[in-house]
C-alpha cells in the first residue's frame, strides 16, 4: 500500500470541500492519461509574457532533442497508453517536419492531439496534413482585435495577419480551431470587438486566459486585468450571438496554481531537452526521457510527485504576486531535479539577455480596427463549404434535415434553407447574395445574416468546409493536460 502523507490528506480534504479540479486524480494512475510534448524551446515571436520564456531560449540556442529522439519518446508514450497529447513549444512548427510527423503518429494511433501554435508557419500543406487526421485541434494565439495591438504583444510586426490567415487555412482544411486570447491591460478594452471578429471568422471556440506570471512574464510588467471586465464582455457577446461560438474565460487565480501543485498528476510533460515534469506548473523534474526512458520517468513521477519540496513550493502560491516573487519561478529558473534530469547551462536564466521586441509602426486605432474587420470579413465570406451527408424534406419556408448516421432532426426556416443550398459548393458570399435577391435585404444585413446562419449550420454539422475530409471535432481539446487547467 502506498504511503499516504500529509499532502495526500490535505488534497483529500480539499476534494471534499469541493476545492479541487473535478477531473483530478487522487494518485497518479498506472497508465498516464496524456503527455505534453514541448518540441522546441525556440519561437519566432518575442512575447513579453511568454510563460515558457521562449525568446530567451531562442537567443541562447538551447540544445534540444533530435528528431529520432522525439520519435522514440512518442513510441514510448504510445506504449504507456496515453489517450491525449499536446504538441507545443516554443513554436513547434519551427521544427515543422517532426512536429507534423509526431501529430500524424499520435492521431493515427487514436490519440486526441492539440497543436499549440502562433499560426505563423501554417501553410496550405501543414493545414492539409492536419486536416487529413481525425481528432486534431489547433490552438492558435490571437491577442488583439487590431493587428497593431497583437503585434505589439507578440513583438513581431505581421504576426496578427499570419495568425488570422493560419486560422482560416486550418478551419478550411477541417481542423478544429480554438483561439487562445491572452488578456492584458493593453487589449481588454477591445475584448468585445475581438470576440466579434473571431465569431465572424467562424472560430468555434475561444479561450480567454490571463497572463500566468511565470517565465518571461515574471521579469516584470503590468499584466493583470479585472475578471469582471472580461466577464462583462463575454456576457455581452453571448447576449448578441448565443452559443454558436463557445467562449471560455479563465479567471486569474494564483491560489488555483498552489492548489494544483498538490494534485496528483495524471499526465507528464516532456521538455525540449527530454526532462520530464508533472506539468507546466511544477518546476521539478523526474528524470530524462532520453537517458532514462519515458516509462522510468513516469514511474519516478508516480513515486515522488508529493515530495515535500514540491508541496512547500505549491503551498507558497497563494496570491498572483507569489509566483514571480518565488525563488523558483516555473520556466524562469532551472528546474529542481527530484528524480533526475539534465543540468542546465551555466548562464543564470534571470540575468540572461532576451531579444528586444520590434514595436509595430504608429497606427491609427480606428483605421486599424476597420482594416482588421475587413480582413476577417473577406476571409469568412470567401470560405467554401459543402453539405454533410444528409437528407432533407419539407417546403420553401420550412425544411427538416436528418444527418446521415444521426438520430436527431433539425428544423430550418426558409432563409436558413436558402443559405444551406447556397453553401453546398458555395461560400457565405453566395448565401448573402441569395438572401439579398430573395428578400430584398441590404447587402450589409444580408452578409451578417449569412455569416450567422453559416455558424449555426456548421455548429449543427449540416455543412462543413469544402476541403474538410472529416467531421469537425465536437470539443476543443486542451492547451494543457487533463486535470491541469487552472480552476476558474
Amino acid at each position: 500500500m502506498r504511503r499516504r502523507n500529509k499532502s495526500f490528506r490535505q488534497a483529500r480534504l480539499l476534494w471534499r470541500l469541493g476545492r479541487r479540479p473535478s477531473r483530478a486524480f487522487t494518485e497518479p494512475p498506472e497508465r498516464p492519461v496524456g503527455a505534453k510534448l514541448e518540441i522546441t524551446y525556440a519561437c519566432n515571436l518575442r512575447c513579453g509574457f511568454c510563460y515558457t520564456d521562449s525568446p530567451r531560449r531562442t537567443l541562447q540556442r538551447t540544445p534540444e532533442m533530435s528528431d529520432d529522439q522525439w520519435r522514440a519518446v512518442v513510441r514510448e508514450s504510445l506504449d504507456l497508453g496515453i489517450i491525449e497529447a499536446v504538441v507545443t513549444g516554443g513554436e513547434p512548427l519551427l521544427r515543422r517536419e517532426i512536429t507534423v510527423e509526431v501529430i500524424e503518429t499520435l492521431a493515427s494511433a487514436g490519440v486526441g492531439v492539440t497543436l499549440n501554435t502562433n499560426g505563423w508557419f501554417v501553410d496550405d500543406e501543414v493545414a492539409a496534413r492536419l486536416g487529413a487526421l481525425s481528432g486534431v485541434t489547433a490552438h492558435v494565439s490571437v491577442d488583439g482585435a487590431r493587428a497593431d495591438v497583437h503585434d505589439a504583444a507578440r513583438g513581431v510586426p505581421g504576426s496578427w495577419r499570419r495568425a488570422i490567415e493560419g486560422i482560416d487555412r486550418l478551419f478550411s482544411a477541417g481542423v478544429g480551431v480554438c483561439v487562445v486570447h491572452v488578456v492584458t491591460p493593453a487589449n481588454v478594452g477591445e475584448l468585445g470587438a475581438f470576440l466579434e471578429q473571431m465569431w465572424t471568422l467562424g472560430v468555434p471556440w475561444v479561450r480567454i486566459t490571463p497572463v500566468i506570471e511565470s517565465g518571461a512574464a515574471a521579469r516584470g510588467g503590468n499584466w493583470r486585468v479585472s475578471d469582471r471586465a472580461v466577464q462583462r464582455a463575454v456576457d455581452d457577446f453571448r447576449e448578441r450571438h448565443g452559443t454558436a461560438m463557445r467562449v471560455h474565460p479563465q479567471a486569474a487565480r494564483a491560489d488555483a496554481i498552489g492548489l494544483q501543485g498538490r494534485v496528483a498528476p495524471g499526465s507528464y510533460l516532456v521538455r525540449p531537452n527530454g526532462d520530464v515534469r508533472p506539468d507546466s506548473l511544477r518546476p521539478f523534474t523526474f528524470g530524462n526521457a532520453v537517458a532514462d526512458g519515458v516509462e522510468a520517468c513516469w514511474n519516478a513521477l508516480r513515486e515522488g510527485w508529493d515530495d515535500e519540496r514540491i508541496e512547500q513550493w505549491a503551498r507558497a502560491m497563494k496570491r498572483c504576486d507569489d509566483i514571480p516573487a518565488s525563488d523558483l519561478v516555473p520556466y524562469l529558473d532551472d528546474e529542481v531535479a527530484i528524480g533526475g534530469g539534465r543540468e542546465s547551462g551555466s548562464e543564470s536564466p534571470r540575468s540572461a539577455p532576451v531579444p528586444t521586441p520590434t514595436p509595430p509602426k504608429n497606427a491609427d486605432a480606428a483605421e486599424e480596427l476597420v482594416e482588421a474587420r475587413e480582413t476577417v470579413l473577406r476571409l469568412a465570406l470567401a470560405r467554401r463549404y459543402r453539405c454533410a451527408p444528409l437528407r432533407w424534406a419539407g417546403s420553401g419556408d420550412k425544411r427538416f434535415v436528418r444527418l446521415a448516421g444521426g438520430a436527431n432532426y433539425l428544423r430550418l426556416n426558409g432563409s436558413s434553407g436558402l443559405v444551406m443550398d447556397a453553401l453546398d459548393g458555395g461560400a457565405p458570399a453566395d448565401a448573402a447574395s441569395a438572401l439579398a435577391d430573395r428578400y430584398g435585404l441590404d447587402p450589409r444585413r444580408a452578409r451578417e445574416d449569412a455569416i450567422a446562419a453559416t455558424q449555426e449550420l456548421v455548429k449543427h454539422r449540416v455543412v462543413l468546409p469544402e476541403e474538410a475530409r472529416n467531421a469537425l471535432p465536437l470539443e476543443p481539446g486542451t492547451s494543457d493536460l487533463p486535470g491541469l487547467e487552472p480552476v476558474g
Binding site: 426558409g414 432563409s415 428578400y439 445574416d449 449569412a450 446562419a453
Partner: protein
Amino acid sequence: MGDTQTVYEPPSVEEIDTGGYPINTAAGTQTQQPPA
C-alpha cells in the same frame, strides 16, 4: 424570383427532440403520434 416569400425571418436552425415519434413533414408540423 423563385418562391414568393415576402416576410423575411432571420435564419434559424433548431434541433428537434422527437421523443422517438415521427415528424409529420407533410403538415409542416411536429406531431406526436404513438408509434405503430
